[in-house]
């Protein structure tokens, strides 16, 4: 499960992990990433618990992806817990449509593992646009469920299209506000259950956001505070995992989510570190100085100020795009004469934001 689908990333994984396969449902593509001929043995019907089933990659701060091995044991235990967290019906099969790709943990756990291990069936459609989501749902019998993300749910609601009756809406990848949760529940007349997790652990917790503020922790996981960090452990996890988030425990089984660690950016369900983005920017030929930052935590994109005598904003974006997933490409990119660096060379966030808002104001004035 690559952290993005850039060819450069797939080549890297193919080199580092011989025996990896490239699977693409859309064109029945099934080939080994390292170019060796594949085995065409049918998969065994009973999967051994110690079978390595997937490797989830997250982008690391050094530019090399970090990998997390998923053994069948881990997936079986976490799927059972996740089904309880998301209240997957026990007596009636729920018919799911997923708008999110299954090479993400969120997609793997819901669109692939729920149908394999729980009382759920999944549509083979991978709809993206609102009209496609509606037609995929219309093909399914009741009760129906939609596995999605805040962005897709918001687009579906704003499309104004009539959506077939839904029983459950599952959302992950980014937080939904209680107001938005109530709006979505009213609009779709369905229960919205939010899931929270990461590639390393899968789903950690859930909440019914319209009615609940606190997250309920999975019955197969424990969260412990260690200094300022939070560590997730579970008997089925190969190793303890440090959360890339700041939370506040409320008793043993609930927590309040406070935000992500300063350096982390999460957009469209993908996670990236700002330091890594800045390394990629600095590595571009013709970039003399530059900084990529999040103007505020809710920004849809990071922004960048770049000092370059040769490159336009567009050229910088194109160069970055060779190594960085499009969701993390800064917008806007401003070409400037110098960065607001202090004598020590550091950039104070306050000075950076002031320079940025001046540039935004200037560009708005020019375009009028």
């Amino acid at each position: 499960m690559p952290f993005n689908r850039l060819e450069a990333t797939l080549e890297l994984i193919g080199r580092e992990f011989p025996g990896s396969y490239r699977l693409e449902a859309s064109d029945d593509l099934f080939e080994r990433l390292d170019g060796e001929p594949g085995e065409d043995d049918a998969p065994p019907e009973d999967i051994p618990l110690d079978q390595l089933c997937a490797i989830a990659f997250t982008s690391g701060s050094t530019g090399t992806p970090t990998h997390h091995e998923k053994f069948w044991r881990t997936l079986v235990v976490s799927t059972a817990s996740s089904a309880r967290l998301l209240d997957v019906p026990r007596d009636d099969t729920i018919h799911l449509v997923a708008t999110i790709p299954s090479q993400h943990m969120w997609g793997l756990e819901t669109a692939i593992l729920f149908p394999m291990l729980e009382n759920a069936a999944i549509s083979d459609k991978a709809p993206f646009y609102p009209a496609d989501i509606v037609s995929a749902l219309a093909e399914l019998p009741e009760p129906r469920g939609l596995v999605s993300s805040p962005v897709h749910l918001d687009a579906l609601m704003r499309s104004g299209l009539e959506v077939p009756s839904l029983d459950r809406i599952y959302s992950a990848t980014a937080p939904i506000s209680p107001e938005q949760a109530r709006k979505l529940e009213d609009h779709f007349s369905a229960r919205l259950i939010e899931a929270f997790g990461c590639s390393e652990t899968g789903i950690i917790s859930s909440r019914e956001t319209a009615r609940e503020d606190l997250w309920l922790v999975s019955d197969s996981l424990r969260i412990e505070a260690r200094n300022d960090d939070f560590i997730v452990t579970g008997d089925h996890l190969p190793e303890p995992v440090m959360l890339p988030d700041t939370i506040e425990m409320q008793g043993d089984h609930h927590f309040r989510w406070l935000g992500r660690h300063q350096d982390m950016v999460k957009i469209g369900g993908k996670r990236e570190s700002l330091s890594d983005l800045n390394l990629q920017l600095a590595a571009i030929d013709g970039v003399d100085d530059g900084v990529i930052f999040m103007p505020d935590s809710g920004s849809r994109h990071p922004a960048a100020l770049v000092v370059s005598r040769q490159l336009s904003a567009r050229a910088v974006r194109r160069e970055l795009g060779r190594h960085v997933d499009a969701v993390f490409l800064p917008r806007p990119i401003f070409i400037v004469d110098e960065l607001p660096r202090q004598e020590t060379g550091k950039i104070a966030r306050k000075a950076l934001l002031a320079a940025y808002s001046d540039l935004l104001r200037d560009s708005a004035r020019k375009s009028q």
Binding site: P127, F128, Y129, P130, A131, D132, S135, V151, H152, A155, R158, S159, L161, I267, G268, R300, A313, R314, R317, R318, L320, G321, D325, A326, V327, L329, R331, P332, I333, F334, L360, S363, A364, S367
Partner: protein, 88 residues
């Protein structure tokens, strides 16, 4: 490179506005430049946002089932052509 047509210009304005492209001017989006990937660097969330804006402005439902859609999102020129062919 040829200049934008009037329809393309209006569409470029819609793209810049709907996607909040602060550092792009509508006239800079050339009819044959890719919108995604190497061009404007748009991503899949932009595609969704753009589809909504097009539905609202031109009364067309964008669906991936329609094979023309992928091609239409390639460039400003292609998108403009697709909208003119499919608008009510």
């Amino acid at each position: 490179m040829r200049e934008q047509t009037e329809h393309e210009r209006a569409l470029a304005e819609l793209i810049v506005e709907a996607l909040n492209l602060e550092d792009v001017k509508p006239e800079e989006i050339l009819p044959d430049d890719p919108l995604f990937g190497d061009g404007l660097g748009l991503d899949s969330i932009d595609a969704l946002e753009l589809a909504l804006a097009i539905s609202n402005t031109y009364s067309i439902q964008i669906t991936a089932e329609d094979e023309g859609v992928q091609e239409a999102f390639a460039t400003l020129g292609k998108l403009s052509e697709y909208i003119r062919e499919n608008a009510d």
